[in-house]
Symmetry: C2
Subunit: 506 residues, 2 copies
């Protein structure tokens, strides 16, 4: 229908392309890195690289690409090479051009969609492809069905209203407040807004607090969709590296960054961090809150993973416990990981004045969260069903984690990772190979994984993939075997031979 | 927690304050208009005006107000007057100030929230206040309960998945596509994305198409929440006046505006327009589409009201029927008005490439729409329950409309309006009185209505209120009687006597 809505500059595109080849960091030129030792024409390597960025969501759909001349200069290749690459991308449906309007990225029909955990497979592929794209397991039945039946019984009085509850149903706000109070942080219903998932909670907070150009400090790596949401809100992301192993938060680095950049907001997942699985200590929590307060930064604590403790470790107090005045911490939560993503119920806990502003601002977004799902979650909380459902979920995730760790250790002995005590993901270093290329090649071999750069700022973590605790036993073994085959192909530079974009589309 | 996130300039605030008094347009100075003939001190009139703008959502919460000196200059009043007004607002909790950071708007605890249709009343007030804030009726039972039971039966296979369907459930996409096909515009499921309400649909479209500063043409008046959503997206709204009566769309004006401004997008509600209830003719639809195509404008056709035909009028073909190539029209729809707002199910119909881009971009917003609600709506469409439910809804809306029209004619004989053939709202000209003041005074007398300026750009329509078809019989009569009492108080300038902000809060 129309041209581009955002633009990718030539230096940015060159940097993103260069980051696809971590082992070639010392290459003399971006194009040498682009080729990555593969015997393919330079234009083909360039087209492959752009396609990959697009399929991974690192270059958005409908983004204007640089003019051929500019990109040629940034990559130190001939303009002919860029023209041939663009022509190839046009032929494959990944690029559209119009005289006077330039060229912009597109998604050909039949392509899997970029971004997100990865999108659902087409039905014809679901049988043959192991999908490790989503860190989201099935619903812990029979609890979903029981909760929906419970909701149905509570529905009649609500059906007589207009159904529009911008702050959430009072019964659910009360239940959520009670849960926080029971965890040691006294909370009133006026401190709760129900949202459409944790993403809705973070989006609402960004709308209120982040003006375009504003700085937001984030863990590096961090939750991919939140990073992209913040970019779309105009935030300038300031990454703070997580330390290796599960120590996680490098407090001196956080102090330094918050002190120097004084960001408007900082976003942390202190409980079983996504993707590393790290669990912040109480001391780290206290230090993060203190540093945020000193810098005038609002700390967003995402508790989406909090209920997913898989080992017998002591749970530290919530981040908000270290901000008793409620002046510096906003907590967001969700049932998507601990119960089921299909419910789309999340929430914000904050000071009452912040909640009022968030609710007021909601008119310009989604207006409200569906009633039946809210009743179902309130039913779970108020009947004790939640605790039983979570036990089921934890047991499955624990089994899946152990099966995955075992399978990866056997099939990919040079991949490095630390086994987390909770959460839903393993963050694996891929032995120096490009995670993006492993992801692309894996997809051809019947296993889908998201590559590391989805979780980083500006192309970081190319040498990583994220593996979720969603498959067990023989499936985990087969997934690891396919990833090992993909890694072999990437290591030998043989990946360019299969030119068909995706076997499951055929 | 923190200072402002947006700012209101002194000239803008002066204009907004001036627009509250349409009868005083000829007043010598804004402050004279501000006083509006009432015998109250100037500072009190100014504080009242600002509070009113805030309660109506025309000045956002957490917005920085101009410095006292600047506002004094813009209003040609003394700085002492502005200082006293700000001090009064601070005392009432509507303003916060911090040295060096200025003053910003706030909502005191216990206040009804601004924006939206108007927000739900606190329970203690619901019995005594007639709420005409929402143009959203209760669910047409037993259909909501039946549909939810139907959803529960379909749920098991979905419960075994991760529950994450960014484009919507295939069964609902198919049902929606079939409904368009049956209406004469052949549609494939690939042309449908399910969203969280029509607001989610418009928000997604804005994210894809509207860059900050981009022009968007809108009907004037138009749907309040969409106007605000577009402002938040950075759009520069270009209003095109609706003609009086139900002729609605002034095609020469649309041609002129689209030709001259070449906006990126135009938003129209061609079926029972909100708030006027106008229904565009086929010729008007064809002309709007042709003008949009000629200007390179994407036309967003909101069909939220389409099913709400109340009289025996012929329904024109959908706007999209006049764009058979699918290159210029995006249709959005929702069950919120025709069935129940508590479901929060909406959708987009567009060309498959647009849908793919919208779905890809969704990762940075709400991720997806709840599964159970989607199954419930699919059940309604696939069983014929939808048609039966809609008949119930139409019959109620028709009765309510007739009761409302009758009551307003009796109690407010100088109010002018045209009775629409469908939709859910009456757009009433308030006999030269300020709609904002009638709304404020009405709230004290036990009737809540949204004032005209919510539906306009830059303070237009001060002399209007919107009345929804949501009450019948004696309640409609009582509502009109209370509005008449409010109008009397406004006309005699006696409104400032009741200083308590809202009787139902007490």
């Amino acid at each position: 229908m129309s041209p581009w809505t955002s633009a990718v500059g030539a230096p940015q595109l060159a940097r993103l392309l260069g980051s696809q080849h971590p082992r070639d960091a010392a290459a003399a030129s971006p194009v040498e890195a682009l080729n990555g030792g593969r015997r393919v024409p330079a234009y083909r390597a360039l087209a492959d690289g752009v396609r990959l960025l697009l399929l991974e969501g690192r270059v958005p759909v409908a983004a204007r690409l640089p003019a051929e001349r500019e990109l040629a200069a940034a990559l130190t290749v001939s303009r002919t090479t860029v023209a041939a690459a663009y022509e190839a991308l046009r032929g494959e449906g990944f690029l559209e051009s119009r005289r006077g309007a330039g060229s912009w990225t597109a998604m050909p029909a039949g392509s899997p969609l970029p971004t997100r955990g990865l999108d659902p497979l087409p039905p014809e592929a679901a049988a043959s492809v192991i999908d490790l794209g989503h860190a989201a397991p099935p619903a812990p039945e029979p609890w979903l069905t029981r909760a929906t039946r419970g909701a149905l019984e509570e529905l009649p009085p609500y059906a007589h209203t207009h159904g529009d509850y911008p702050a959430g149903l009072p019964v659910l706000r009360q239940a959520l407040a009670d849960r926080y109070t029971a965890r040691g942080i006294p909370t009133m219903p006026e401190q709760i807004m129900v949202t459409t998932g944790a993403m809705g909670a973070v989006a609402a907070t960004c709308r209120l607090l982040v003006r375009p150009g504003e700085r937001v400090a984030v863990e590096s790596p961090s939750y991919a969709n939140v990073l992209q949401l913040m970019r779309e809100a105009g935030a300038r992301l300031v990454p703070v590296a997580m330390t290796d192993k599960l120590a996680g938060w490098d407090i001196p680095a956080w102090r330094q960054v918050l002190g120097a950049a004084a960001p408007r907001m900082a976003y942390v997942v202190a409980d079983f961090h996504n993707p590393t699985g790290a669990l912040a200590t109480e001391e780290q929590r206290r230090s993060l809150v203190d540093a945020a307060r000193a810098a005038g930064t609002v700390l967003i604590a995402d508790e989406t993973m909090t209920d997913l403790r898989l080992d017998d470790v002591a749970m530290p107090r919530p981040v908000a416990a270290f901000d008793p005045a409620g002046s510096n911490v906003i907590t967001v939560g969700s049932v998507s990981k601990s119960f089921w993503a299909g419910l789309r119920i999340g929430w914000v806990r904050a000071a009452p004045d912040i909640i009022r502003s968030l609710v007021a601002a909601r008119a310009y977004a989604d207006l409200g969260t569906p009633v039946i799902e809210q009743l179902a979650v309130a039913w779970l909380f108020n009947t004790g069903g939640w605790e039983e459902a979570i036990e089921v979920r934890r047991a499955h995730a624990r089994d899946n984690r152990d099966a995955l760790v075992d399978a990866v250790r056997r099939h990919l002995p040079d991949w490095e990772f630390t086994v987390p005590h909770g959460g839903l993901t393993l963050w694996a270093r891929t032995g120096g190979l490009s995670g993006s290329r492993i992801a692309e090649t894996g997809a051809r071999l019947g296993v889908r994984v998201p590559s590391g750069p989805r979780f980083g700022v500006d192309g970081a973590f190319e040498g990583y993939v994220r593996l979720p605790f969603t498959v067990a036993g023989a499936v985990a073994d087969k997934a690891a075997a396919r990833l090992a085959a993909a890694a072999d192909l990437v290591a030998t530079g043989a990946t360019a031979e299969a030119e068909t974009p995706r076997t499951w589309v055929a």
